[in-house]
């Protein structure tokens, strides 16, 4: 069980399921749409941000830019149907869908 703060970015059933799953594992979880991600992250200071991205290189980069002003920057995990290593250099972990839940829990903790 982890008590880390995780911000789940992405509305919809998957976002809700992921948030609930993380909460069941003891994480303190907030769920937010992409539009409000940066504002909530600045105010709430999560340890980890988990975001869904259809195009990880584009959306992942945008997310990193949005989180850039937060120090320390939260760990960032992008879940995508098109996994890419292009964000490795930015310290973003990209997981392929369908996501390995155990690995996600490890990375978020």
């Amino acid at each position: 069980m982890s008590t880390a703060r995780v911000l789940v970015v992405g509305a919809g059933a998957d976002g809700r399921a992921l948030a609930e799953l993380l909460a069941l594992h003891g994480f303190e979880v907030a769920e937010v749409s992409q539009r409000h991600a940066a504002g909530v992250a600045r105010a709430w200071m999560p340890d980890c941000v988990v975001a869904e991205a259809a195009l990880p290189e584009h959306e992942g980069r945008m997310l990193v830019e949005q989180l850039a002003s937060i120090a320390p920057r939260p760990r960032t995990i992008v879940i995508s149907p098109r996994p890419s290593h292009a964000l490795d250099a930015l310290g973003v972990t990209c997981l392929a869908k369908p996501v390995d839940v155990e690995r996600l829990l490890e990375l978020a903790a």
């Binding site: 059933a13 399921a17 992921l18 069941l24 149907p81 392929a96 869908k97």
Partner: protein, 336 residues
């Protein structure tokens, strides 16, 4: 134009009477039609299937003094594809025809190959797009299952085994998609000069965990110290795939052993992987066809990927039964 003049021309030339009888033919015509000297005196239309004779007769009706040339293309009786242009030829005061032809067999074959490649590429793109899209619903299903399992686990009830089975099936579907994406992706081949033994060593290292878990001994039979011009990453991946298959086949057999070795001769590199497993389901089983598998957990794309890697190198992959052993063999050109 006289027969002397046409004889040495690179194009195919036939002078025809209106009846179709060939009265003049150059060397190229004799060669391209495969009829040699006997082409003279024969009916030009007989070079083509009878079903096309009416079409040709109709075309010839439009040929006359001052009229534009008429074109015709067809498969000649010798299997060559010839493209012709007909024009009026006032031969000895008679109304005759010139038939000037080009052998377009290779050009058409190239065009057909190009169309085939384009079709395959667009199908691969379509398939890859579909595979990516399928990952979204698989992810949703997996998250819901994971959530359900954990919610039940927090109650007094036992988590139904079916949920774990469904989760495994989703992961299996994801593996099929992953393999399909590797198969469908346009693969660039980056050739380098590499020592074959080092590629084999890396492939063995990557398979060792699987072999240990299956209780199978991996043996390096070795080979000559030789440098080949190959894409090391792709050949290594292909060898890992073949070794993994051999390990699965050898697991649980009286001789759980897999041997890899290589030879080089006549500018060819031959790498072999041998196991004493049950072997092929049938001697001519389409083992390199996509989605062919004999394993309940296999995706059927592993050997299809291997075949593609080998053919991209200008080589040949084969799987045969030699005595009680199953031998995979990849034959590659040592240097391009």
């Amino acid at each position: 134009m006289t027969p002397v003049l046409v004889s040495g021309l690179p194009v195919i030339m036939c002078g025809l009477e209106r009846s179709g009888r060939i009265v003049v033919a150059n060397d190229r015509a004799m060669e391209a039609t495969g009829l040699s000297e006997s082409v003279l005196g024969s009916d030009w239309r007989d070079l083509f299937a009878r079903s096309r004779h009416d079409v040709i007769a109709e075309l010839w009706k439009g040929i006359g003094p001052g009229k534009p040339v008429v074109e015709f293309e067809g498969l000649c009786c010798n299997g060559r594809r010839l493209r012709w242009q007909f024009s009026h030829w006032p031969h000895d005061g008679n109304d005759a025809l010139w038939a000037v032809g080009l052998d377009v067999t290779e050009e058409r074959a190239q065009q057909a190959r190009k169309r085939g490649h384009e079709r395959a590429r667009s199908l691969a793109n379509l398939g890859a797009g579909l595979a990516h899209e399928l990952r979204n619903p698989l992810n949703s299903a997996l998250l819901q299952l994971a959530l359900a399992q954990r919610k039940i686990a927090r109650t007094d009830r036992e988590v139904p085994a079916e949920l774990a089975e469904a989760t495994r099936e989703i992961h299996r579907a994801a593996t099929v998609l992953e393999d399909f994406l590797v198969f469908a992706r346009p693969m660039e081949t980056t050739h380098q000069h590499v020592e074959v033994g080092s590629v084999v060593d890396r492939a063995l290292a990557r398979t060792s965990d699987r072999a240990t878990a299956a209780g199978v001994k991996l043996a390096n039979g070795g080979g000559p110290q030789v440098v080949a011009e190959i894409d090391p990453a792709r050949i290594e991946r292909a060898l890992v795939e073949v070794l993994a298959n051999a390990v699965d086949a050898a697991a649980g057999t009286p001789t759980p052993e897999v041997m890899i070795r290589w030879t080089a001769h006549d500018s060819a590199l031959v790498i072999e992987v041998e196991d004493l497993g049950p072997g092929l389901p049938a001697p001519n089983a389409p083992v390199f066809d996509p989605f062919f598998t004999t394993k309940s957990s296999g995706t059927g794309l592993g050997l299809a990927i291997v075949d593609r890697v080998v053919s991209d190198h200008g080589g040949v992959a084969e799987l045969t039964r030699v005595g009680s052993a199953t031998v995979f063999r990849m034959r590659l050109p040592l240097m391009l």
